[in-house]
Subunit: 343 residues, 2 copies
């Protein structure tokens, strides 16, 4: 457990309300993680909790706002203060369960990009039964060029190795066929660069059906395809388990069967639940930012905080920066910094 | 049942072999569908079957070949002959379980595009529990412009109405958020055109999680995202049902439960199985072409033939052409024919 790490928590934005957010914070604090929570002190009710400091603010940024404009305008917004806290070195990582766009904007402005990184990417651990797959980008960049996909591959590999403890993670590129020539123009170009790269274990193109089969440890795609895919997986898993539940209600024998299977199925459902992985991580910045599921329960919020603390504990940022510097193969793509890009 | 309709069947390409292909053909013929099968007479063993005529050929196109080049070079290839049979009016529709690329190329060259259609699109009925969703494009066009997405919407709506019998089908556009401004540039532009269009029931953007929830009858996307999504849904459904099967083996009580649920679960598994929908349909051509699942069993092949016959029976092509002509809203996009596009 990452004891003694301080995490800056956005005290607004959890869809299930302040009570659930506070419950998640308490659970993480009970693990020994220190928290600085930016939000409405009274509603949160966290003032007397050991290891938690509430920094009061009443300003926040909602889902419906223009994220970039709001982050620039609202200097006292909870997510902006959380990012500033990390930038100032008071906290080691930030977590928000509010607007994904606002969190990305606040983190990108507040923490800035790692040297050579053109576009930060949003990564998630897919809730695949029995195995973790790191999947990125799930929404930070709806349009990408080939060199961005190449950077995502290196960023994902570094995270998989440092935080998830995967030795020589196998990295795949999501496409419409296994052959090198398959896919959009930028995918084909990224494939060529990655196939020639050293310092990365590139396994080539992977297809949609390979994602749940966990044929790679890290799967890279653009933010449009990634966002659609992530939500589609969650929706499909829900539809299938729902249909099975309906089946168990279709006749008395099946209902008895469902009853007998329930304890074992509970474990699987927990494993498939988005809360289990704690949220998405913004990779490529000089600080750690975790975007919790907006609809997360207390356990999901606690897991997002734990994930952020774990990233800080293993110095994910420093080690990612070192890996990027060392990887000669990525250098071409990684040093051609385009100032017009990103934030 | 579409009795008396003649379907041209590619006698090569089924991964499970000639025996399974022939078994599927027999099952469809037993429904009263007439078949002209292009393939190796001896291996197929269909010569004496009522309603089936075998047109012998030994040439075919494999998955590994360059589809466009192979279709141009191999005049006697089974899939090329099947397309020519439809073009000549001897068959009313064609079906192939071979290379998707070769089937698309053979159909596009052989049957030609409907007036005003720039890009044919590949559509499938998603195996969603309890409800059919028509999803396109699942791989014909990995890169699209806004007007192509608009055309796909009209093509999909026409198919849903004529073949699937959905009255005023609700059409959604796949994106990364429900708001009109979300997504890639071409998605945002297509949204604007469709929102202003008459003659189509456009419900706006739908997200990945909405696909299995069947919030729309027709969902439109580019061929890259569509192909990844389709395979991802199949893979996720398989992973979840597989994990449930493993769960049922984890302890004796769960195993007994699984046994009691099995008859009811069998129906769901059949419903989720890709074979149930018969395959993908190439929309936007002057003839009907169905691309069967390469790995289909006999039932899948029979269902692909039934789907093709059903399309012919309801005159899907003629009615789609009429709908495209009538839809004033689509006209802007539909008449700016770009001869450099497509085949």
């Amino acid at each position: 457990m990452p004891e003694g790490i301080t995490v800056a928590l956005d005290g607004f934005g959890a869809e299930q309300g302040f009570g659930v957010l506070a419950e998640g914070a308490r659970a993480a604090a009970a693990d020994g993680i220190r928290l600085r929570v930016f939000g409405p002190a009274e509603e949160l009710g966290l003032d007397d909790v050991e290891g938690i400091e509430v920094v009061p603010t009443s300003e926040w940024i909602g889902n419906e706002e223009d994220a970039v404009r709001a982050v620039r305008a609202k200097k006292e917004a909870s997510v902006v203060l959380a990012a500033a806290d990390v930038a100032a070195g008071r906290s080691a990582a930030m977590v928000s369960s509010g607007s994904t766009g606002a969190t990305m904007a606040a983190a990108t402005f507040g923490l800035r990009r790692l040297k050579g990184v053109q576009r930060p990417a949003l990564a998630v651990q897919l809730p695949v039964p029995g195995k973790a797959v790191l999947f990125l980008d799930v929404g930070a960049n709806v349009e990408v060029r080939a060199q961005h996909l190449v950077q995502f591959a290196f960023l994902g590999a570094a995270f998989s190795e440092t935080v998830l403890g995967v030795e020589r993670p196998r990295v795949g590129l999501l496409s419409v066929g296994e052959e090198a020539g398959k896919g959009r123009e930028e995918v084909v170009a990224a494939h060529d660069t990655l196939a020639a790269a050293t310092g990365i274990d590139f396994v080539g193109n992977v297809e949609g059906r390979d994602l749940p089969a966990a044929v790679a440890d890290v799967v890279v795609t653009d933010g449009f395809t990634g966002n659609v895919s992530l939500k589609l997986m969650e929706g499909t898993a829900k539809a299938v388990t729902g249909a099975i539940r309906d089946t168990a209600r279709s006749n008395p024998l099946a209902a008895l069967g469902g009853l007998l299977m329930r304890p074992a199925l509970g474990g699987l459902q927990r494993e498939l639940h988005p809360d289990s992985t704690g949220g998405a991580i913004l990779l490529g910045l000089r600080g750690i930012a975790v975007v919790g599921h907006g609809s997360a329960g207390a356990e999901g919020i606690a897991n997002a905080i734990r994930l952020a603390a774990r990233c800080a504990e293993v110095d994910a940022v420093g080690r990612t920066a070192a890996l990027l510097r060392e990887s000669g193969a990525g250098r071409g793509a990684l040093t051609r910094r385009d100032e017009a890009d990103g934030a």
